[in-house]
Amino acid sequence: MRMQTPDEALAIAAATGDRDAFAALLSRHYDRIHGLCFRLTGSRTEAEDLAQDICLALPAKLGSFRQEARFTTWLYRVTVNAAHDRRRRVATQRKAADGWGDWELNRRAGIAEEAEAQDWLNATMARLAPELRDTVALTLGEELSQKDAAEILGLSEGTVAWRMSEVKKRLREMARAEGML
């Protein structure tokens, strides 16, 4: 069954021109791409745009997929890189405009409790440096191991571990500032 074909086989087939394989691969992973995009950008519209960019680039990018890599790892890397590029572009165009910072403007009236939780999340994410945010998105959001996250970010495992301890430190500082500790 195609539905059970491993990602890697589908990716190789798609790279050699198998349209169905590509369609299957994409519909299988769109939500994953979108999810990480959201975690990386903190904005729904940004995430949709970014996910679309990635989908558009995938047909051509698939050529660089190597069989020895896990497809999801590869896809995460593509996504993170695309998010970085987008961030860089935005940063050069108008400094410091950031999805997480814009959140307040886009906030929709929702269930009060959920909104509050989101606010906390956004406030927290907005105060983390971008590289910490990426690390958090992968390790906490995507529940990847530090090893996998390191591979995707092109860093050593030690750096990811250090970043996570840095995140904990920041979180503690924030909590203290808010009088929660």
Binding site: R19, D20, D31, E48, A57, G63, L140, R172
Partner: protein, 661 residues
């Protein structure tokens, strides 16, 4: 404390679900791009060589994916299998019998494809998904017409009957694939996500007019060492088409060929200008004035070390055998010419810019080659980002006495990421002052943006070359590497003041895009062309001596000035140049003797090429002189021609002659 982390984790886990519409749109566009990538991958092959399997099957699949309702989907699937798929759109009965087309929604298409996938894969082994998928999806089409036969809205009989003749022809696999290709073409038409495949833009001006010396005795222009125009013309002609007139820049054609000019003496100016005057081949009453400039060739052993940044366009349009693969081979060839001490970095740009290879010693060929090898084409093009990163990288490479140069390799697809071409030019002009040179190598046809390339190279103190074959890469990047990479004189300008007593009229052949205002000659702020080590530049003027019948304009009855002066001098040649990195120019002056001499081989060949350029663009000054004469002249003037460049030019003239009949 861990509470905080858990809270963050929980917050991040609670992701909003993706918007179904956005998802569908993204998936649809991705599939379009997928088709486009597949399409460009196969497009360049001649149709006979096209692998039938891929062509036929992707075509059928394309049709399926682009049709809407289940009914039409299955119907056309079966019709395509019979080889009369196209007729259903053409026959009036067929149109009436079809349900009105609906806008496809990606979800429907996705459901369809999943259904087919499931059918297709029921027998499939997992390990050879790639190969069997095609055959399986073909097999899956067979049962579908039977399902659809029950649906009332489809009238299969009408198109089948109306297309008897074509059904007869269309039995074999060849016809089948032919129709399938039509299916591809039709399905591609409404997609406009990527830039169109044939958008070429050329930079050229109208041919220089004849000037009357009494009114306008001074001619000023910047030298041009580019050769791109000749290769573009060659690529057009060998594809069986006359080049667009705008693609013809005569000076670049003439400068393509090596000539045997005297080298400058040691301790003098870095280049030497030699002047000769001879009979014009196409007009017995005029003369050609040739100015040949030979750049010194510094001993290559003690050349300064190089910092090279390859700025490589890896956008989707580069995915073509004549583009990225040729580029990789070309740079591979060039690596052999580099030596220890040189350093290479690779920056790519496609949608986003990235440093693919950190500055690496040229001796580490394995690292450089493997970095080149890993490049793959994909994404749109953001030329400006890439340029900025390349300049930053080149600045970072530094090194005392190093010559830094960016080699921009692209197919000219510069249309994403630059909102203001002027701003880009300004950026390059500003970077020019940092001493980093920019050369442009263009590859492939289709969206060759000759105008932007020219502008970039001219503003970036560099040369533009067009690489269409590996032997062109050999010429530009290996044989003439030192010239391409080591400038010996910047901002070289030429000014000639003609002597009205000796010359009635003159016309500069070519250099239309390089014209300078008379007063800019002495203005060191005005940018002009560069000469690289060993470069040669040739400029040709057609001059009409005072008095003869060839003069195109009548003398003025009332205001003709009385002429006086030394008739032994045709004019006065002035050259200005700056040593690389300096701000003030040096002036070289020399009088031009008015006595014509015998044309040497090089002069005759240059004249033949100038004639070829005019025949391809604006032949109005050539009279009855045509291809036969040009071919004869060039054939006689081939000289030694060790690499066969001139022989190739004669071939191209013969091709042009046949094509222009």
């Amino acid at each position: 404390m861990n509470d905080e982390l858990d809270k963050l984790r929980a917050g991040l886990k609670a992701n909003p679900a993706p918007d179904p519409a956005a998802k569908a749109e993204a998936l649809r566009l991705a599939m379009e791009n997928f088709d486009r990538v597949q399409e460009t991958a196969t497009k360049t092959r001649p149709s006979q060589d096209r692998p039938e399997r891929a062509g036929r099957l992707t075509g059928v699949r394309d049709m399926l994916m682009n049709l809407t309702t289940r009914g039409t989907l299955a119907a056309t699937g079966s019709l395509a299998a019979l080889g009369i798929g196209v007729m259903i759109w053409q026959g009036p009965e067929g149109q009436r019998s079809l349900p009105p087309p609906q806008a496809p929604t990606a979800q429907e298409a996705a459901t369809e494809s999943e259904t087919r996938l499931r059918q297709a894969d029921s027998k499939e082994e997992l390990n050879d998904a790639a190969t069997t998928a095609e055959a399986d999806s073909m097999a899956a089409m067979a049962p579908e017409p039977m399902i659809v036969a029950e649906e009332p809205s489809i009238a299969l009989a009408a198109p089948a009957a109306s297309s008897d003749a074509s059904a007869k022809q269309a039995k074999g696999g060849v016809q089948l694939s032919g129709y399938a290709e039509i299916g591809i073409a039709a399905s591609d038409a409404p997609i406009a996500r990527l830039p169109d495949l044939d958008t070429e833009a050329y930079s050229n001006e109208d041919a220089n007019p004849v000037k009357i010396v009494a009114e306008d005795p001074v001619s000023t222009f910047s030298i041009d060492t580019d050769t791109a125009s000749y290769s573009v013309i060659r690529s057009s002609l060998t594809n069986g088409q006359l080049p667009p007139k705008e693609a013809v820049r005569i000076e670049e054609m003439v400068n393509y060929f090596p000539y045997d000019y005297a080298a400058p003496d040691a301790g003098e100016a870095p280049f030497r200008a030699s002047v000769s005057l001879f009979q014009t081949p196409w007009n017995e009453n005029t003369q050609l004035l040739r100015i040949g400039i030979q750049g010194e060739l510094p001993a290559t052993d003690d050349r300064p070390p190089l910092n090279l940044v390859f700025l490589i366009d890896t956008s989707g349009s580069m995915d073509d055998p004549k583009k990225l693969p040729l580029l990789k081979q070309s740079f591979g060839l060039m690596l052999g010419q580099l030596r220890p001490g040189d350093r290479v970095a690779i920056v790519t740009y496609a949608g986003s810019a990235g440093l693919v290879l950190e500055p690496t010693e040229a001796s580490d060929r394995a690292a450089i080659l493997s970095a080149l090898d890993r490049l793959g084409a994909g994404g749109s093009t953001a030329g400006a980002d890439g340029l900025q990163l390349a300049y930053r990288t080149a600045e970072g490479m530094g090194g005392d006495g190093h010559v830094s140069r960016i080699l921009l390799a692209t197919d000219g697809d510069f249309n994403v990421g630059i909102h203001d071409p002027e701003a880009l030019k300004d950026f390059i002009a500003e970077k020019r002052d940092t001493g980093i040179y920019l050369s442009v190598l263009s590859f492939g046809r289709g969206n060759l943006d000759d105008a932007t390339m020219q502008a970039l190279a001219q503003n970036g103190n560099g040369t533009a070359a067009y690489i269409d074959t590996l032997s062109e890469a050999q010429k530009v990047l290996v044989d003439q590497l030192s010239g391409a990479l080591f400038p010996i004189a910047d901002d070289v300008k030429i000014q000639i003041e003609f002597n009205p007593a000796a010359v009635a009229e003159y016309r500069l052949i070519g250099y239309e895009t390089r014209a300078l205002a008379r007063e800019d000659f002495n203005n060191d702020k005005v940018d002009a062309g560069e000469i690289g080590a060993g470069h040669q530049v040739t400029a040709l003027y057609e001059v009409t001596p005072v008095g003869p019948p060839a003069r195109l304009s009548d003398p003025l009855r009332y205001a003709e000035p009385t002429l006086a002066g030394n008739v032994a001098e045709l004019g006065f040649l002035k050259l200005r140049y700056k040593k690389p990195g300096e701000d003030t120019s040096t002036l070289i002056e020399t009088p031009i003797p008015a006595a014509p001499g015998e044309a040497d081989t090089d002069a005759r060949f240059a004249a033949a090429i100038a004639g070829m350029g005019q025949l391809l663009s604006e032949p109005k000054y050539l009279g009855h002189w045509g291809w036969d004469e040009a071919i004869r002249l060039a054939t006689d003037a081939r000289g030694k021609d060790p690499f066969g460049y001139r022989a190739e030019a004669v071939q191209l003239m013969r091709l042009s002659q046949s094509l222009s009949r």
